[in-house]
């Protein structure tokens, strides 16, 4: 018995080791395939539980996947939305054939102090804590540079092929507000020159940052908006997550199986 690790036991240890009480109300942080009784041979953390990630996880001996995002192309993983599509059943068949188990961790991962995703992204972007205005503010005052240089530096660090930037590349910028995924901070804070994040609705939302940056620049106010892509922005935190899970599941191998950036961009 002692040498068998179940998915239920892994989840129990995750809950126990988290610094914050588990949010039982979260509809995101639940089993999406398989269940607590599935025997775990190895654990893979990843951003998106894509078919490609599943194949690579199995090749690496990992049948338990801990993704940050959805598996079936909608946030609540509502099967009724996707089950009629030709791509749904083959993905499920693969999961079943390889006795896989998927447990998503999203809300509780963001609730952890510090949040794994911010730690991972700040590390990858080279945003040192000495520049952070206040601990866990995700607000950095950096040596002044231009928006163009900053974006080029981040693109190089992350090898981010589809990075997108709004704002005059020659803008002098220093104060950076970091966001991750779709949790993109508003660009209109007076103490923020640049917002760096994953993804955000382009317009008709809570604050339409691209339109705001265009008008700010027209008025001579230096502002910039750097979108890394949802996957790229949070992937780094899944490496932190893998290391953390590894620390309390010594019985099995644990690794990050990265979801590669989905996009390419034309020249």
């Amino acid at each position: 018995m002692t040498d068998v690790l179940t998915a239920g036991e892994v989840v129990a240890r995750i809950k126990k080791n988290l610094d914050v009480p588990w949010r039982e109300s979260s509809k995101r942080d639940t089993f999406k395939f398989g269940g607590p009784d599935t025997v775990v041979k190895g654990i893979a953390t990843t951003m998106f539980c894509s078919y490609d990630v599943l194949r690579r996880a199995i090749a690496a001996g990992c049948n338990m996947i801990i993704p940050h995002e959805d598996t079936f192309w909608n946030d609540p993983d509502d099967i009724s939305v996707v089950s009629g599509d030709p791509s749904y059943q083959p993905k499920v068949d693969f999961l079943r054939q390889h006795d896989m188990v998927i447990f998503r961790i999203h809300d509780d991962m963001h609730a952890q102090k510090p949040d794994f995703t911010y730690v991972g992204l700040a590390r990858a972007l080279g945003l040192e804590s000495k520049y952070e205005t206040a601990p866990q503010s995700h607000h950095f005052t950096l040596p002044e540079t231009t928006l163009g240089e900053m974006a080029a530096n981040f693109q190089k660090r992350l090898n981010d092929k589809a990075i997108r930037v709004v704002g005059d590349p020659k803008c002098k910028v220093s104060r950076l507000q970091l966001g991750v995924g779709y949790a993109t901070p508003n660009i209109n804070s007076p103490d923020v020159d640049v917002v760096v994040s994953g993804e955000q609705q382009e317009s008709d939302g809570m604050l339409d940052s691209p339109a705001y940056v265009l008008d700010a620049n027209t008025l001579g106010i230096p502002k910039g908006w750097i979108m890394l892509g949802h996957c790229v922005s949070e992937q780094q935190g899944m490496l932190e997550m893998a290391q953390w899970v590894k620390s309390f599941t010594p019985e099995v191998p644990v690794q990050l199986v990265p979801s590669n950036e989905p996009f390419w961009a034309p020249k």
């Binding site: 998106f48 997108r164 609705q201 809570m206």
Partner: protein, 313 residues
């Protein structure tokens, strides 16, 4: 706080963007069309039932003012407003919000995320936050120039055929291939790579294009989904086409759906051009249509450059 440098301010003033001479409000004279008259003509001619709960309302200015000319645009940016003033047009018809949010009001919404971890959101700050310079400068520019801004989005896209898809098909040179519905086209077969280059050039895209799929993929059937596309629309469109050409999607939805479909052997792809860019040709078409229903007025379309750029590796 930011301040606008003197030099920058002077150059903006010269360009007519800031501190333009206060225009005299055009008073409706006998026979002159008011902004409300223009909207009434639109409602009468659009061929779509008008909904009371809609974003298509006046966002700024006086609906009873006489219209001197109309500018249509995908985004009523300060730059576009300045071009309208120069062209002598005081009514702007825009598909996207003017005041940087769905709420579309001259005061900014509360900040979405608390600054300090664990602190409550600062929706009701102890002291009122200073006015947002960009919101107030835009509001002031609109007032000083007596501009009228009206949003035209929900109803325009309800028209058949969809003017946003039709506009893109026209600009991409595919309108002859459309057999009725421009949202699904059969084009001369090409590679995904070549198609993307063509789209980039035709839409004058700078850095807003992102693609999922094999560049060598043969593409002949295209779904055109301008604006914002939810997963349900992608699921409906993808099986019958080789590629979806869309404005924006949610990355955890359509991007991952197309990625999985490809990895499972599907010969599919997704081309995202950006929401504003995807709505540009539809607003160009809107100017053409307005000329037919408001022939008394000068109507023109003002382009918005692709907001995005990308560093060159």
């Amino acid at each position: 706080m930011h301040s606008i440098s003197r030099r920058r301010f002077v150059s903006l003033a010269a360009a007519g963007v800031v501190a333009a001479p206060t225009a005299l409000k055009a008073l409706p004279s006998a026979g002159a069309l008011t902004a409300q008259d223009v909207v009434d003509r639109i409602k009468k001619n659009i061929g779509v039932d008008w909904k009371s709960d809609s974003a298509d309302t006046f966002k700024a200015g006086d609906p009873s003012a006489a219209v001197t000319g109309i500018v249509t645009t995908a985004l009523a940016s300060l730059d576009v407003l300045g071009q309208a003033v120069k062209a002598g047009a005081n009514m702007i018809v825009t598909s996207e919000p003017t005041f940087f949010a769905h709420a579309d009001t001259p005061t900014p919404p509360a900040r979405r995320f608390p600054r300090t971890a664990g602190a409550p959101p600062d929706a009701a700050p102890a002291t009122p936050r200073p006015p947002d310079l960009v919101f107030s400068a835009k509001d002031e520019f609109i007032r000083k120039n007596n501009l009228i801004v009206w949003r035209f989005s929900d109803h325009w896209r309800q028209r058949t055929p969809d003017p946003f898809a039709q506009g893109l098909a026209n600009v991409l040179g595919w309108s002859k291939s459309a057999s009725g519905d421009p949202r699904q086209l059969t084009i001369a077969q090409t590679s995904l790579d070549a198609l993307v280059s063509h789209v980039k050039q035709s839409l004058k895209s700078r850095g807003g294009i992102r693609v999922v799929g094999d560049p060598k993929l043969h593409v002949g059937k295209v779904a055109i989904l301008p604006g914002s596309t939810p997963i349900q629309a992608s699921l409906k469109a993808l099986p019958a086409v080789d590629t979806i050409l869309a404005g924006e999607v949610r990355e955890w939805e359509s991007v991952e759906y197309v990625r999985d479909t490809i990895d499972l052997g599907g010969k599919k792809s997704l081309v995202l051009v950006g929401r504003i860019v995807s709505e540009e040709p539809g607003m160009q078409l809107c100017a053409t249509w307005l000329k037919t229903i408001v022939p008394e007025l000068k109507t023109s379309w003002v382009a918005v450059p692709d907001p995005y750029w990308r560093p060159t590796v």
